[in-house]
């Protein structure tokens, strides 16, 4: 028995003990989110984030497509070429609608790729730790403790300060601080699975280590990790936004939502609220919906396990 680790994620509050059979009741049952609906909701959010930029009136990454002459126009104004800026423009003359849509995509892409890579690394590490145990396990887990012991924001900050700006670098920094989370969860889940008798049965049938690891342990323990991953996407996005806000994130010419907010920070008090409030709202809506979907998935997952 060990004390509950600090939940790596506030969404992921581990249950105190296993849920007994009599745990559900009617109301809860009625609202019990099905895994499928949660997954669909998640897919919709992601697809929207990735596809919406196609609708954007302008390409905010093409420096030729906007002009500093149009900068900081309030919502509803028109540009010199007659385009209407429904949410105004930023200090470079970018249409905020386009900037937010593209920013949303950058944020999502960073969140998704970082999570995917971190997940892959973490899962592999976790599996290896469980499978080889002993010294290797101890070593890997000390490393994981070490990384998780640090405030992720500081580590990412220092890393990016070393490496400079760039989407790839942000992704790298996020992966560097997040893989350990998956490794730990994977290890915990796989440890539980490995004690189950079907793994002994597999050994008893003379299966190779690799087969047991990837064919038997992996599919059975990845659930908890995937559930955490949906929430970690939101986390990665927040982290990216914060790093961009601190001036070490994505390149200025390819703003993510966080960078847009940061850029608008200085205009906030002078009444040009739209430069930071709208991207900020978009960010909040994005993170909130991801968290919400993640939370539903977690509940669905736990309900299914119970």
């Amino acid at each position: 028995m060990s004390r509950p680790e600090r939940p790596v994620d506030p969404m992921f509050v581990p249950p105190l003990v296993k849920t007994p059979r009599r745990s559900f009741n009617l109301q809860r049952l009625k609202r019990r989110p099905s895994m499928r609906s949660a997954v669909i909701a998640l897919a919709v959010v992601i697809a929207a984030g990735l596809l919406l930029p196609l609708l954007a009136p302008q390409d905010p990454y093409d420096l030729n497509s906007f002009s500093v002459m149009d900068n900081r126009l309030p919502p509803g104004e028109r540009s010199m070429d007659g385009l209407t800026f429904w949410l105004g423009t930023d200090s470079q003359g970018r249409d905020m609608v386009s900037a937010i849509l593209f920013g949303l995509r950058v944020s999502l892409l960073v969140g998704l790729t970082a999570t995917a890579i971190a997940l892959t690394i973490g899962v592999t590490v976790g599996l290896f730790a469980v499978n080889f145990g002993g010294k290797i396990d101890a070593l890997l887990m000390r490393l994981v403790d070490f990384i998780l012991g640090f405030p992720s924001i500081l580590v990412a900050l220092v890393l990016l300060a070393v490496m400079g700006r760039g989407v790839d670098k942000v992704v790298f920094a996020i992966v560097a601080v997040q893989w350990a989370i998956y490794a730990r969860i994977m290890r915990a889940a796989a440890l539980v699975e490995r004690r189950k008798e079907y793994v002994e049965a597999a050994q008893n049938l003379g299966y190779s280590n690799g087969r047991i690891m990837f064919r038997h342990l992996l599919p059975n323990s990845i659930g908890a990790v995937l559930v955490v991953a949906t929430i970690q996407v939101a986390h990665a996005i927040t982290l990216e936004a914060t790093l961009s806000f601190l001036g070490v994130g994505v390149p200025v010419t390819r703003p993510s939502l966080g960078l847009l907010v940061a850029n608008g920070f200085e205009f906030l008090l002078s009444g040009e609220y739209w430069i930071s409030v709208f991207p900020g709202l978009a960010l909040v809506v994005l993170i909130f919906s991801l968290n919400l979907v993640g939370d539903r998935m977690r509940r669905a997952f736990e309900a299914r396990r119970a």
Partner: protein
């Protein structure tokens, strides 16, 4: 017990060593502090002298070994920028951060635990749903943006609270404290709120899931079968059980918050350690950055150890030695 503490201390020495090396190299890789420190008018001679004084002319491993040697004597170096011992600099900023973190946690518990109990004990009610969704929102708000909105709202629009700084402090036992003056409290409110909201959400969820979980436990059923009153069940059985994870999480969060206060301190210009760290990173003030991270790591080690001991004290099931493995 003794073995456990000893084992943890042994481990932490390793961790501290690793941390110091990593941070040392990282800051070294960021850039050349001399470039920022030495005025452009300085002659080449002055520059070289400076480099020599800071010891930057020697190979990195030698610098590191010197640093380690000094660190053993409790000297983590002098700030390049401030010329003071880095430790002293950090320690002088500690009270501000600790004050912030303490009140943020206090607020988080005062708000989060009751809300969580309400949500957890009636997990199917509308109130519960609102609380739980609200808690998701609570940590979906990026810290910096939330801070900005607080300033916009409470300072710029309604002029209730000052925007930044620490306000008037009273020195108690050599420690300057804000919460003893009205002005100090006014300055404290927004940063504390900003830091506290995600933790309120965490506390709420932790309590709620704990309570929802606990109320379905067999011992609760057994207590009901014994005829125990509902209040007795909540107080004795449910609260006592969920308090254990809460207390430990509060302990761990204390450490995390100290680290995460960085952003809040930046937004609200709160003169704490976090702000010092950010400026020191930007100014490549390596001794301060290294000392800060080492102190934070040390703090984490101590906090974790304390948390484990508290946990062991609170939860009769825990046998310390079992966990040393």
């Amino acid at each position: 017990m003794g073995t456990f503490v000893l084992q943890r201390l042994l481990q932490s020495i390793g961790v501290l060593l690793a941390v110091s090396l990593v941070v040392f190299l990282a800051v070294y890789a960021i850039g050349d502090p001399v470039e920022l420190l030495v005025s452009q008018e300085a002659t080449e001679l002055e520059r070289d002298r400076m480099i020599q004084i800071l010891g930057l002319d020697r190979p990195i491993w030698e610098q590191y070994l010197t640093f380690l040697g000094n660190a053993l004597r409790g000297d983590l170096g002098q700030s390049f920028v401030h010329g003071e011992p880095a430790i002293q600099l950090i320690v002088s900023r500690m009270p501000a951060t600790f004050e912030l973190v303490f009140f943020a946690l206090l607020l988080a518990c005062l708000v989060g635990i009751p809300l969580g109990l309400v949500a957890g004990l009636h997990s199917d009610s509308r109130t519960s749903r609102i609380i739980m969704t609200g808690s998701i929102l609570g940590y979906s708000l990026p810290n910096f943006w939330k801070g900005m909105m607080l300033i916009l709202l409470l300072s710029v629009w309604v002029h209730w609270l000052p925007t930044s700084g620490r306000g008037e402090t009273v020195t108690v036992l050599g420690v300057p404290l804000s919460f003893l003056t009205l002005d100090g409290i006014r300055h404290l409110v927004m940063p504390v709120l900003n830091l506290s909201i995600p933790n309120m959400a965490l506390m709420t969820r932790l309590t709620a899931s704990g309570a929802a979980e606990a109320r379905l436990q067999d011992y609760v059923r057994f207590a009901r079968a014994k005829g125990v009153r509902p209040q007795g069940i909540v107080r004795r059985h449910i609260l006592r059980n969920i308090l254990i994870p809460i207390v430990t999480v509060v302990g761990v969060e204390f450490g995390q918050l100290i680290a995460f206060s960085t952003i809040t301190e930046t937004v609200f210009a709160w003169p704490g350690m976090g702000k010092l760290l950010i400026t020191s990173i930007y100014r490549l003030d390596r001794p301060v950055v290294v000392a800060y991270i080492m102190m934070i790591t040390f703090l984490f080690v101590i906090i974790n150890l304390t948390v484990d001991l508290i946990y062991a004290a609170l939860d009769p099931r825990v046998k310390l030695m079992e966990r040393a493995s």
